[in-house]
Symmetry: D2
Subunit: 148 residues, 4 copies
Amino acid sequence: MLIFASYKLLMPYLYDKVQSNFARQGLMKTLHASLDKVEPGMVEISSTFEESLSQQHGYFHAGVIASIADSACGYAALSVAPEGKDVLSVEFKINLMKPANTNKIVATARVIQAGKTLTICEATVHDASGQKLIAKMTATMMIVDIHE
Amino acid sequence: MLIFASYKLLMPYLYDKVQSNFARQGLMKTLHASLDKVEPGMVEISSTFEESLSQQHGYFHAGVIASIADSACGYAALSVAPEGKDVLSVEFKINLMKPANTNKIVATARVIQAGKTLTICEATVHDASGQKLIAKMTATMMIVDIHE
Amino acid sequence: MLIFASYKLLMPYLYDKVQSNFARQGLMKTLHASLDKVEPGMVEISSTFEESLSQQHGYFHAGVIASIADSACGYAALSVAPEGKDVLSVEFKINLMKPANTNKIVATARVIQAGKTLTICEATVHDASGQKLIAKMTATMMIVDIHE
Amino acid sequence: MLIFASYKLLMPYLYDKVQSNFARQGLMKTLHASLDKVEPGMVEISSTFEESLSQQHGYFHAGVIASIADSACGYAALSVAPEGKDVLSVEFKINLMKPANTNKIVATARVIQAGKTLTICEATVHDASGQKLIAKMTATMMIVDIHE
């Protein structure tokens, strides 16, 4: 917690920049998602389980897993993008490796290649304990001008 | 409508089988999704826009697009699976081709290869008019035993 | 043959443009690949089997299938790109659906979305008979300036 | 070298098992590929450049990169599969991040999830120096019975 606090002290601007975009994504609120960490090239988003996020067995739906991983990838890309730019998902691919029968999922996204036009990110999605790798995503993000 | 009505007459069992599984996916209700068509190897699911489904520009979030496409692929696989089986998403990949600034998205999934263990499906996601191709998904589904 | 001949009459320029690039890909010769068709937004490349292209069971290696499908996608994108541009593969995903125990594979690629920066293509790979769908690829191509 | 030597001493069986399968892949010889390392869940394959492996700019063709990464993923899966089993590629996705203008590419594959039916692997492809990340692959492998 101390680390997180000092981190926020050091990089409040980066967190706020991502948070203000995150707050405009209606879906993130719908998915009980919270923006837990923002570092240059790394973003963490988690979601807390409710019945409204389930698939047929009562676990997290793959779509929820993909949604928070996609947003985490987008914000990881945004965290290293130049000022005045926004980020759009071009494509992503996700492998669902374990059933998400957990009360919380945590998506951790990292930039693996930042380019002028495209940024490639990866995300892992773990359960609440951090021990179970539920899913892995690779995503291609496009850097675009902010259009108001 | 007449066609759809007669189709339901001919294949009420298939529709009901998929519908009963669909109704257990809490996320589908959350995404204002409706199961519009079920044929052997083909399923259509649509979602109606609300602010709660948005990304930062007020369009459908990629996660919503992926979620209904993934469910449509899963149900297309289920529609041709043997009795007593369920379907799980192993992986999917989605290309997001146009911004989803539309009040309704329609995911149409088709089985392109049905195997004993794995079934491969594709889905297109169009806007309300059916004219704009918003996204394209390829998904690998695994046929598993129903576990109560 | 007549159709192909007249097509070449109508679009010799397009075929030649792609063919001259294809001839510079050393790998295509290594894979016994031939550029069979070029139309605006559609390209067909085939490969004839030899032991040098095999995986462990003596069938076409997945890498050969992916290589000709990738090149076909790239050339489909190039066929609709502006003059003075070249095309690079950003990413692709391929599903291998049937063993490629056939003496010839044919990759048919089509543009499904042509943008200013990115072009999205799909390719199917069939056996010699055209009856068996061996693989399906989705590829993202980037339009770049030709650099001499 | 000492480490590699002692490793081969400790795990000669595993290396030989993979090597005997690798030797049956005609394509690996065609691509000047060599099986450099085999550990439980990790395999390294490299390829040395020749004109016969080029794309239009004289760099390694994406198909070569994908081919050795796919084989490395397959053998990583095989290295942890039960006796009497073989491995087939179900699907893979590759992001091509930098031009492969290098005289050697090295694909390093790791199992990230080993299941009864499916094994998920990742591979990175670097240049000769090991400093440049050229490509990243995620692959789904299926464990099948060896059929003679």
